[in-house]
Amino acid sequence: MPNQKNYWKSEVELDKQSTLVDQLSQKEFVQKLPEDLLGEETLAEKETSRRDFLKYMGFSTAAATLAACEGPVNKSIPYVVQPERIIPGVANYYATSIVDGFDVASILVKTREGRPIKIENNLDAPVHNTANARVQASVLSLYDSMRIQGPTQAGVDVSWETLEANVGQQLAEMAANNEKVALVTPSLASPTTQRIIADFQAKFPNVTHYAYDAVSETAALNAFETAYGKRALPTYDFSKASCIVSIGADILGDWQGGGHDTSYSKTRVPKGNNGKAKMSKHFQFESNMTLSGANADQRIPTTATEQQFILGSLYGALTNQAYPTPLSAALNKKVNEIAAALKAAGPGAVVVTGLANEDAQRAVLAINELLGSDVIDTQHTTELRQGDAGLINQLTNDLNAGKVLGIMMAGVNPAYTLPNAAAFVAGLKKAKLSVTFSTKNDETALNSQWVAAAPHYLESWGDVAMKTGHYALTQPTIRPLFNTKQFQDVLLRLSGNAQPFSDVLKNYWTENILNGSSFSTALHDGYYVSNQSDRLRYRDNVDALVQRLIRAKSSGGLELHLYTKIGIGDGQQANNPWLQEFPDPISRVTWDNYLTVSKSDAQALGLKNVNQSDGALDGSVAEITLNGITVKAPVLIQPGQAKGTVGLAFGYGKTAGMKSEMQVGTNAYPLYQDFNPVQTVTVTATDGLHEFACTQLQNTLMGRGEIVRETTLEIFNTKDAKYWNPMTQVSRDHVEVDVTSKEADMWQAFDRSIGHHFNLSIDLNACTGCGACVVACHAENNVPVVGKREIRKSRDMHWLRIDRYYSSEETFEADLDTVDNISGLGESLSTFGKMEDPSANPQVTFQPVMCQHCNHAPCETVCPVAASSHGRQGQNHMAYNRCVGTRYCANNCPYKVRRFNWFLYNKNDEFDYYMNDDLGRMVLNPDVVVRSRGVMEKCSLCIQMTQKTILDAKLEGRQIKDGEFQTACSNACGNGALTFGDINDKDSEVAHLKEDKRMYHLLESIGTEPNVMYQVKVRNT
């Protein structure tokens, strides 16, 4: 039976001796109710006499009565002149794009009364049309209270005129003396900005432009230039893939600019009938456990050196040449198996690599040419990554040597992101002229003479070439909040062009891009597509360099793999509390980065993870040493981490321009030597334990199993659905009946056949665990941020969590059999061959869980004040104003989806996140109430959105079409994992999904009849 698999969320669950999980599963709330506001003192310790108590009671009753007598006087201030398109209470949407040098997406911005409050996917746009978690959260960065509010010189406020005049004069003087000036920007890929920079350089010939990526793709860029003659990156369409082989490339993460998950998911759902369902097959070789590995059909943990061998060996197998490598027999067998699969897949085959090695990148391009892959598109390239590591290193040297005397920077923070940041800062201080365009007083701004306050992208104009022939526009969605100016505008002024950037942009588009079509249409749509393509021809020969690849030698020490987390990325938005509180999809840790170590390495190094009695996780602290640089980081034992490797995420440990609460983690950039993400380091254990805020052991399902259902494509195709998706049977009069059948149901039926009946379908196959929905839910529903301390106490407020389950082959006992069976293949030391430990290479399943909106809801029956009640449309309503906070509902919820407001999280200095200042509160959704202390809350299936759809239809006097009903999570999911709709509309997609043979409900056996359904995960193993 497929359901014999054992699922576990945390290492500690595998420990048979540990009673912790049992203990935790007995407790709904691991902490007691706080006796006073901070929960740190107990009432017993206080000296409060009965008389005092009566005094306080009497006073507070009198005060409350008096206070209640007079209501507050509310003022309403209407516009003096109301803008034509703004109607108070009605949202406007604007199409724009985010391009911040790391993330790129075509998006729609929802504004209410002129305030952007939410980011939505612009699905009409053909490329990069979905917003990841960081882009979803970027709207909050607009209202960051740490933003610079105006230009400064040496910390003193100046006017823009002063700044422009002084900088212009100094530039002119430097131009006259032929002193070099560097202009450093992120990879802009903005045609108009490139023109403006060219004009600027024409005026000041001493200016050199550098594109700088904090996380570099130099190797891939160089390889593509060698192979095709253009310094750019190819683009990929994984929806054409039938066999994907990734060698160290996190294709669902930020590999080559990210954004590949939308097309990837399209082929991950089995399609086709009568036992001939097909889906793509994904092999992943990697060291750290990434999203890609978690979603792969086969994940093979390997070191970077092994990955080079595998690539060489795979090239050999495909070209029928012999490239002998020191790989284990098991791995060699796997490579041959993969080569056969690739050959069989034809043009649907693709090989990608994330190795920061030019040879490896060229080899992969050669393999894809050889396979004739349709997935890789070399004729539509992208310049979203342009940075050249060598040039940036040279710039640091030149600054220190006095060869470059002026530097202007916009949108980059090299004083934080450069591995040799100290040297860069020293050089920066030597410069005669240093100007930084920044939104924050970050590390670079603090060391610059002039700080030019830059606007957030939602206040800016701009454009971008997503890929060849695909252009997108950025337009302001709010008037600048502060006295800010875009660097393009300042460059134009310095070049002597009086036109505003918006006009220059429009003119440039009209003359060079639009080819006669309307600018207004392009601005309205947010994008423009022309039929341009690169005419590039493959002109490389890699046989020799593959020889070089397979001669690589392992350096012996531990391999450190530096990576970017889904939440924080390169660290630009580290001051964003939504992202800090976002649980990492793999580790479920919030508010931290950490050194991921495999279990066996941890044992060898004396590193450990300890779970406290309340489920909170503590980790040892390790010192990571590389060429004399030492970095301290807490340790997290990561199931699936390749032996001999450790991982550490960028983007943390930032201190400048950050709220103190947000200054968490360790800065990994100093270890990013020569922009190589793989380094050989020594790791030593140090004293002390680090306290993590990890949601891993929280909200356990009280030991109720059978949450995740999965099967293999083979079983799916050959066996009956009853075998791999069985309905729980119960005995009635000694006859087995389905648990959902009427005979077994003890609840009174409630007629839901009339009107709308909302259902949400979650496809475990399409869900990659990216977490965009989690942040979208945050933004839509005014979910508060509670901070690291509270998360550690299991008091996270996320209405939607994505559970990550690990599982090993069948049962653990079956693992032992597996090991016995494969022992004949050789005494390989590779983790693939030996499964002595279930955590060595677990399979991963992601499962988004929110309120299941049970038709027979256990929470409703226990509420003493009827605050939780059921709607005819299938939603489980929660009336916050009625709730008195007994928390019985949370105790009785089998899915653990109810969240309790332990504190007042808004306008409370104890929780100094976005809800504590006027600026941050501008992001709140005015249609959803901000909950107060002491009430229970939970997912409402975005009832404000379904109501809005109904109200609009009534207003327009029409029926509602399928697809109009959406929730924040289903809107945010670009992968099609979440489908929402009305099952009473028999033609709707969700009604079909309800009849799908993959459909099942969580804990069907308890008879709650949820309105949220899941689709069984099918693995193509």
Partner: protein
């Protein structure tokens, strides 16, 4: 001044007489002129005051009549042709173009000019005097009747007294004695009450119940601001706007049609009318101090807030947004949508807001409690007419409940989550 205009009047009269003799034999009709003026000119012109266009009283004295004919019929052409006077006016009024009125005949224009030149005669003091006397007479007769009635009453009382006296005398003469009743000694009422435990018990219960009732009613009205009538920064009279002038509610509160908010109109909406209405000429309520000056002064407050310069008839850009005091305050945890009630259900604004058109100062008419909402949802039928959204659901639901018309409650309008999220 008077003399000047009088002279102008006279000369115009003579002039027009000459013309009318030449063209037609008719006298210009001041009444017709007034209605034409109100229909065509009043939007931009006032008689004695500059508005969008110049004040028109005595305009015929300033310009040649033929020139006025062609100017009124097509001013743009005249400006284009470079007529010195026309260009002067055009520039004087910042290049705003006067609407052309080709439909007006010379006769019409004469009538209008006759009206604009007409000075109403000073009111005759004799008429007023007559009125007062009539009023005085009226009150006199009333008093007279009262006095007569009083006299009659007094006569009746004295007659009764006399009758009584006579009867007693007769009784005394006949020897009949009128016995005085003897007083019985009774226990005082309060003592009797205190001695009756049942009564005391009942009273205590009654007192307890009534104080509970009073206490409960007091607590229940906390937070309910029915009748809340705050003083607003500008004395805006809904009575004058919605009542006297019959302005549609949704002309100003336009977002009530499409949005959850009814919206307090932005000041540019006020200026749609008040660009021309700079003073109040309606009824006064002297008792409360609502004089014409008072209202005109409130209009000036609007001009100050919106930054409107009456002299130059232009916006100065110096604005001071008005901080209105919000009257209808729903708690944050309630979602209420105006458009659903106004546009979809077609409910009159007055149903919840009361007789706004009679409110000099606006107040909260309804209690705005949940019970009040729910009651209405229970009683009100859903307006399904010509609304395709309801077609299917109404048919199915009315079959289910066996009714012709569905109430909002039957449609699900009592579910918590419909309003609380």
């Amino acid at each position: 001044m008077f003399k000047d205009s009088y002279l102008a009047h006279l000369s115009l009269l003579i002039l027009s007489l000459c013309f009318s003799f030449g063209v037609t034999a008719q006298e210009p009709d001041i009444q017709k002129g007034k209605s034409l003026f109100n229909a065509n000119c009043a939007a931009c012109h006032k008689l004695k005051k500059r508005a969008v266009g110049p004040a028109l009283a005595g305009v015929s004295a300033k310009y040649d009549k033929e020139w006025l004919y062609s100017w009124i019929k097509n001013s743009t052409a005249m400006v284009k042709s470079g007529d010195a006077q026309a260009v002067a006016i055009y520039e004087d009024y910042n290049g705003s173009v006067m609407t052309s009125f080709p439909q007006l005949s010379n006769e019409d224009i004469d009538n209008i000019l006759a009206y604009t030149d007409y000075t109403p005669p000073a009111p005759d003091p004799s008429t007023k005097a007559v009125a007062t006397t009539v009023e005085a007479e009226g009150s006199l007769t009333n008093d007279l009747i009262l006095a007569v009635l009083l006299l009659v009453l007094a006569a009746l009382v004295s007659m009764l007294f006399l009758v009584n006296k006579t009867l007693r005398k007769i009784a005394a003469a006949n020897g009949v004695e009128i016995a005085q009743k003897e007083k019985v000694k009774r226990i005082p009422l309060w003592k009797a009450y205190a001695q009756n435990p049942f009564l005391v018990f009942v009273t205590v219960i009654f007192l307890l119940l009534s104080s509970a009732y009073v206490g409960y009613s007091y607590l229940m009205q906390i937070g309910i601001d029915q009748g809340y009538m705050p003083i607003q920064p500008i004395h805006y009279s809904h009575k004058i706007h919605a009542g006297d002038n019959q302005i549609e509610c949704k002309y100003c509160h336009s977002s009530a049609r499409v949005s959850k908010h009814s919206g307090i109109p932005s000041l540019n909406v006020c200026m749609n009318c008040h660009m021309n209405i700079a003073e109040y000429n309606g009824e006064e309520d002297l008792e409360k101090g609502y004089t014409k000056e008072f209202y005109t002064n409130e209009i000036k407050k609007l001009y100050k807030a919106v930054g409107w310069d009456e002299e130059t008839q232009s916006y100065t850009g110096d604005t001071q947004p008005v901080k209105w005091v919000r009257i209808h305050n729903l708690p944050d945890f309630v979602y209420f949508n105006h458009a659903q009630h106004v546009s979809v259900a077609g409910i009159e604004c007055q149903k919840c807001h009361g007789p706004v058109e009679e409110m000099e100062i606006l107040y909260q008419h309804s209690s705005l409690t949940m019970g009040w909402c729910i009651n209405c949802h229970r009683e009100t039928n859903v307006n399904v007419k010509d609304n395709a959204y309801y077609t299917k659901i109404h048919e199915e639901l009315s079959k289910k409940y066996g009714v012709e018309k569905l109430t909002a409650a039957q449609m699900g309008g009592l579910e918590c989550g419909k309003c609380h999220y």
